[in-house]
Symmetry: C2
Subunit: 184 residues, 2 copies
């Protein structure tokens, strides 16, 4: 996700300057030099699922990425949350778009801050209703893996790795929790 | 938070049109008519705390709003998450800015989707280290309330009400959980 500085006002198109607004705000914002509109920039949510297969969730579904960044690496289905949907609805949508997987949504499982890139990643547990997938254009391949089969050295993102580690640890412990984590 | 449509490109200032981008995206986006930059709009996170006082957290801190919307109504300290901070860091910052309250942060307590306005609200439990407050310009008054004293008819937002209800219910039950909720 590019985060290039704002150069022009989205309301009128005039140039902006980064300065403290006149409303007592303590942070520099992009303020329009013509219409004075203040433009805020905020973190983005990435939402996804841990789709599990089998009576005791022995397998998880991973997707081999067909897009940059991390082309060819493996990820859980996830993507940017959109306006008009909840975190769970976004996670369900991404699972359908990236893997063509049919799931029953479970509870929120991980919430991870990646402050360095201005993101919050949220993963839900989910139960796969079928082991037939229909990967979308962003995915080269969608496949089930047991813990021993997971390509740990080929995982696309740290948040995916941490979520998978928690999933298999909780599964071994016989009890799934909710986990929060800050990623450097 | 205003969500007026994008009219101009933030990169070059030229007009945008809302259309399906050429990259296979299935949703209309604001696309620049000159430089073709695609502009995404995503939900915002609101982060705050439930600051509790007393050995068993009998009192909670509420702030009387000095700004619109809901001027004069009572709220938990909360505000929009900023770039460069985690959800917990944002919740701590807002508690300082709005109430001037010294707290020790606890675990995430509620996560509520307000899809209608494109927001996710997250509240952390927190322990007040002092009952002396220094409200900022956005707050008329910061005060401690027991469950019986809470001005339930004067609470500013539904997410604050739901979080307070969960707090006092969990406190009575002797066990604090983590709660997710979708608000219409």
């Amino acid at each position: 996700m590019q985060r290039s500085p704002i150069k022009h006002c989205r309301a009128c198109g005039a140039p902006v300057v980064y300065r403290l607004p006149d409303d007592g705000d303590t942070k520099p914002r992009a303020v329009c030099t013509a219409c004075q509109t203040i433009h805020y920039e905020n973190p983005l949510n990435v939402v996804g699922t841990v789709p599990a297969w089998g009576p005791d969730g022995e397998h998880v579904l991973l997707c081999k990425r067909n897009i940059e960044p991390r082309l060819g690496k493996w990820t859980l289905p996830a993507g940017f949350m959109e306006l008009g949907e909840t975190t769970a609805e976004g996670a369900l949508r991404e699972t359908d778009e990236e893997a063509g997987a049919q799931i029953e949504m479970g509870p929120l499982f991980t919430l991870m801050n990646v402050a360095r890139v201005g993101q919050v990643h949220l993963y839900y547990r989910a139960r796969l209703l079928s082991d037939r997938f229909a990967p979308g254009p962003e995915t080269q391949e969608a496949r089930l893996f047991t813990e021993a089969e997971v390509p740990w050295d080929e995982i696309a993102f740290r948040t995916v790795r941490e979520t998978l580690l928690h999933y298999f640890a909780d599964r071994r412990a016989g009890r799934f929790g909710f986990h929060t984590l800050d990623i450097d």
